[in-house]
Symmetry: D3
Subunit: 336 residues, 6 copies
């Protein structure tokens, strides 16, 4: 099978053990993640060849980040090692009514300072069938936005499927261009878009129908009308009861039809970072594997639900394990 | 008080910390356990003299396993140290809808290669009142089955009570004899049997009444009719909500009467391995202590419920702690 | 802002990791805490200047205890370093239906052996507005009771507000005087008292109305009638579902009016030690900040609820974090 | 083989990880040890049946201490569980020129408060050949001294060999009797004594020849002249280069002859606590095994040298491992 | 006693456990340190009142850094909490012939972006007798250099002693001004300077006599001739055998006389970060305590030697512990 | 550059933390290694493309082992996932005079049960220049020996360089064929052989000159005479002072000339497992990089020396780091 390629920043994530706060910690658990690279690693675990393209400082920290994803089976050969620092973030894990909290320290990273010409997209995509990116990448810097633009253009030219998680993070856009200026052109080049009603309004001024039952369809129809390349819109709906208890549902609009899954109950939540990314890796796997959108969507939410039970950013589950859940085995009976 | 003696294999259990998967782990938490030895250790904690008979490789790994149970108060003086390797298993602990998963690595262990003549059962039982064994032991190898046979025969001859947890594990029976050939003779020598409707059908072809309310009684009556030595049949009924939430109930058929307990709610489950073994250690304690089956059964389920809150295979609780639960103190108020 | 001063014993707390029992542990997590010092540290985190007065052995253990609170921002300059040992306690953390359990080892501590003349209360209170103490302190020894008496007298003389958590611990009173003899005089000097119906009956013979809805008011009215200096009585009501699931509500009687909050749901409980102390630090903060009792009370319960999600004795939360909860954000959505 | 029995206090030892100081630690590594019990455990590892007699608080802490030694193979059946607290000590591990440092917290322990009549020495010694005690035990309390007296008397009456490590700790003797009054009577009942020139002078006023080469012999001769029951005197000589580098030599005076071993070089020292105790367990093993004093002495020092490389108080080595060192294999080549 | 005040950046230090490399680590040990703040904390441990002035991001990371030093007894009340990020560095600890390696990630930190007017030096120095700074601070940014300039001026005006560790780090000076332009003016305001021959040449063009025995004196004389305010020059001489074995000697030039200490042998080195800072804290303590330069110098080197045996940046030793070493107790005999 | 390919078994290595013994451990540090795969991973770190061919059980344990090496940059695409269990070994790390000790548990592993036809060597070598194998592989099973035979034949046919570490482990050869029958044919196909005088005598009956100075040359000459394909013989000479102190030297015989390096001193040794493998990865790197044998040999020993300072089996060092040592920087000065 040909590769799914992702492009974006990988950060070091540092968190105090268990539910401790930073001021209590004498060590920090570390892992590495990024909204796009998580999708690649998740796909690799599911058995889909995956490659990630990124930019790392050429030091022990950058090497360790790349090695982490290489270990998880992601082809990292097109990554660039230039620059000074790896972006990082501190995560305090909450519980019950206390939310988990992130302190970012990612400005001026090697990725933010990348030059678009460092990436030869024709070479990167030589063995690829799919490009996935997130709205975080063009938010980081003008050069990152430009590289995204070029990657999408090359992917379209070479006939790849292109997907995006629009993922609007207001605070990130600080280099002088607004998301509302940059994102439309990029999204216009996508076949599949992950987007909530809120992000559609913030980014594209799309006002969904106020009725919750229809709002996702309404938003999707408008989005597709605006960007005709888009063939599918998907999203998760979260019913967050507490930092320790989450219920998630998958939504899709495809071929003019609306699909949804039942809610999956996750109690306790072990680690919710990367929950959305694993939904996407599950959906891409599903698209490449199953004949129907409904099957792909159910597989995607089950993948995401499993991710919530695993420490770290990545859904470290095999396709067989997801199928076990899809088949209804959600009571967690011991497997010998 | 005279000893309760158990016979069977002890394995090393290796698990990644917390809910991590094996591929994430740079260390593994270890402990040691076995379906029969867990009963002995549980009894020792409850204050009943207990001995275990097993076979270990004569190396640092085997010594560590034996030492673990010796520390918990089990008399290990009749254990044999011969052979090459200790059986072991890897446990990935699940959460919520992700089940815990075991990868066994136990074939060709020192225990599997034991010779029946290494054990002098008259000597072993000199100070004993009770023999307990599980269906795992005769499943391991022909010599292990033969040693079980000899142990039961000696126990009967010397007037000990004999109990068995039939515990049918299809995948284990690989040495050429079928469980259905081996188990009937062994179970025929027992006074007390732990058995579910499913195991009774698989092992003895007993078909219980289809009605859930009657199925346990129906199965028990047939089992006793078939093996007249049996005086009591017990089991736990699990209402498993997720890997983190379990409800358990105790069932008993004794003297022609049916007994059951209310359900005990365990949320979250800290460690469910050994949950069944602790039920048995609680019931044996109860039989030796209380005048009524109902009391013994309630004590047994409370013991098992407490076990689910303790890391490792063994119910590390005193009889007073179980009685505290039996008395209705299940809301977990801090004890100063 | 002037300081809030607390007076009492700080102990080392030693607990096996996670839910392990002492007999399984090869290391113990340590922290330091005390019912009064926890209030000071909680206030310091909330932004209120706080000082603690205590007595520690003049060795590495005592220094470490003082340093712990100094790190959390508590002014420890009036602490005395004399004596032989630091009181300590072992905590086994329970889960679900297994209660957490404390084994105390605090007798004959440096604090118990303090001499009242070691403390110059005029000096201590030079920059203070408030004294808070708990019923544990006068329970420890005759000299500790005497020092409490002198501290209250000085505080009254200097115009400080005085609050007390009566916190009756029957087992502690072992030096020859009964709580019922000692406490009334001390409580008589307080403006604010934390007291449950049970403690009021045990300590002061006050019988509250049997009706749960009225019992707190009834008790408060009698308490104020008996000790006219008291202007406010507060308490938390706990609806403890299990060691892992708690619901708490705040109650106050002030100016002849009764106040209560809704219940806050805490599931799972990460660490319930210090839950009451954090309620008090929240209420003191509230009194110093908000115009109404209702606001202070709600802030207090929210502080306590957050404390239950944090390892250790102290509510390591900022006022902004508590206000976030008070504003209704209790579903734990990730904060970026 | 019959048992070697030891009598004395077991404490919990708490130390910050690695070379950290107490003020840096958020967890403490724990183990359990005592100068006499360490000898018993060391003997059990070497294959000699060993029992320990002690007194523990009847709580989870005391049970954990007893379990630790039970796991190491020591027969703990004659231990008594009465009293309030387990003695404990904090150990900061040094390195290089920084010495390790101990803060004791052992006063008023369950052992200190023992009553001599709790021990039935005829029962304890039923299957024993040897009693070993240390000078720490009679230093703890008058009742502990009295129990030691009774144990020695019973041992003599029943024909056991009696050995003592005189181990004079000035600071411990605080209950009103002086070591110089108590120890002579006790030592008078011993066959084998571990004693340095310094202790002999402090305890018995024996002045050894000033010449280092002769001082041990001179002291031993005087000791034997004074206490005719003594047949052998042994000691280690330490050439301490730093907290991380030690050289030790064994000395013995037996049958009028002087024996010594070469120096064993230990660099780095992993854990020097229990180094002397392991020397004694090695010598007792040697006496029971080898025909010559020289062999026993060499075995003893090699045991002690190995102990210095193992964390904790006890020489967790088999006799074969010690013999490997005795045979000259001290360069540490990997054993497969 | 009045305070010693330090000014400079505090960073988070992150290192893989033991000798692991970054690519092997799943957690990082963290501590906090800075060349100047380490001096303050070291002094606080030695019993000298110390304050530090710095600038931290106003988030959980910055608060944790400040709390670390507050816990160690440093007065942090004049610190400013403004800005985005805390500088940090990754440390891989070497051993034997493999050097420890630092990867810095400190650019654009809150401290680098400080504004000089945020610090009211008259207020800071109200209770101070001494200002200490290092050459790292003016290297960080123009505003940091300006604040240093203002601090020195204020200190001089208020009659404080001023000391500096010139500590030339070529790579740090990146904001447009050269060390050679900035440092002379700052050093001109100092009474005591820590400086090696190499730094003197690089920074001030001072060429010391080529003969090792005379080079320090030669350099010192020229330095004092150039900057007449300087009354003392001190330095350590390192005889580095490997990453695990260090020998250090103290040198001083004061009042026209040369002083040196013997070499202190440190084997193994536990942590050499902060070794120079602890030398300075020891020397300042010595100056404030002892009548002679020789005594202060010996105390300083002994402090530094002890620091090499302690994890983290700070010499967590009491004055009594240093005096114990100074008195010749360097063989590390166990202290009970 | 084309790949270096290795073939052999990868095992899980389990060791108690620090210097603890198995009986003390409640967790085991794990890593993965194998004599051949370690060479591949070491080369990947040095920047040489490397691939490993092995056979793993198709379960979470086998996947984790493969992932470990994939993370370190080794191409694992030709590995086979079939079979039941991963071989493993327990390692107790010694110190000073106590040797590290290995308990193997590797029989009947997936690798031992491989079928030669599972490997398509023409495909494997498509992009390769070098094959490296060790004498461990043909010792494991007849099929492993046959696969080695086929790999060598294919490599020769395709023009690859072939190297072998003869590494005779007597205990491993248990499947019915003797090393002396199997090895000669395999070694005959090699260009470069790592062999000591002892192994040459045991395997090939070659008696080296008794004089130590000449023995390596004498052995090498006879080896080359016997197997004319061999062009180079290399070895390390170890001067093992203790488990913590090692000195190593490199020896080579090439083109009729003898080469040796100076001794590298390693004190302390952090981890000596894989020390020989890292020597080989260094020598292969050197052969591919430097013009002279002497340079390659020095680089090889320096690589091995660095490996001894790093936990785990693999030399996690860059070529630049080795060159830093080769350039004489062996005193471990901190690198900023």
């Amino acid at each position: 099978m040909k590769q799914v390629v992702t492009f974006g920043e990988i950060m070091m994530r540092l968190s105090p053990p268990l539910q401790n706060r930073l001021s209590q910690a004498s060590s920090l658990d570390i892992t590495y993640g990024g909204g796009d690279a998580n999708v690649a690693a998740g796909l690799a675990y599911l058995g889909v060849p995956a490659a990630h393209v990124g930019c790392f400082p050429d030091n022990a920290v950058g090497q360790a980040a790349a090695q982490h994803f290489r270990g998880h089976g992601v082809d990292m050969q097109h990554c660039v090692f230039r620059g000074q620092r790896l972006g990082l973030y501190f995560l305090e894990v909450g519980a019950s009514l206390r939310a988990s909290r992130i302190v970012y320290d990612r400005y001026d990273s090697a990725f933010a300072n990348l030059q678009p010409e460092w990436f030869n997209w024709d070479e990167v995509f030589r063995n690829a069938q799919w490009l996935h990116w997130t709205g975080i990448t063009p938010a980081i810097s003008a050069t990152a936005a430009q590289a995204t633009r070029e990657a999408i253009a090359a992917a379209r030219r070479l006939g790849l499927t292109v997907s995006a998680d629009v993922n609007y993070r207001r605070n990130l856009w600080q280099y002088g261009q607004r998301a509302q200026e940059v994102m439309p052109e990029l999204v216009a080049g996508c076949d599949l878009v992950v987007c909530t009603e809120g992000d559609a309004e913030d980014l594209f001024g799309i006002k969904a129908a106020p009725d919750t039952d229809n709002s996702f369809v309404s938003m999707s129809e408008q989005l597709i009308a605006r960007f005709p390349q888009i063939r599918q819109v998907i999203a998760t709906r979260r019913d967050t009861r507490s930092a320790s208890h989450e219920r998630i549902q998958g939504l899709a609009f495809s071929g003019g039809n609306y699909y949804e899954t039942e809610f999956f109950d996750i109690n306790p939540v072990v680690d919710r970072i990367g929950g959305g990314d694993s939904f996407i890796s599950g959906f891409i796997y599903g698209q490449l594997t199953y004949p129907t959108v409904q099957q792909a969507l159910t597989f995607a939410v089950a993948t995401s639900a499993l991710k919530h039970t695993i420490p770290g950013d990545i859904n470290l589950v095999t396709a067989a394990e997801v199928e076990h859940i899809v088949a209804g085995n959600t009571t967690g009976r011991l497997l010998r």
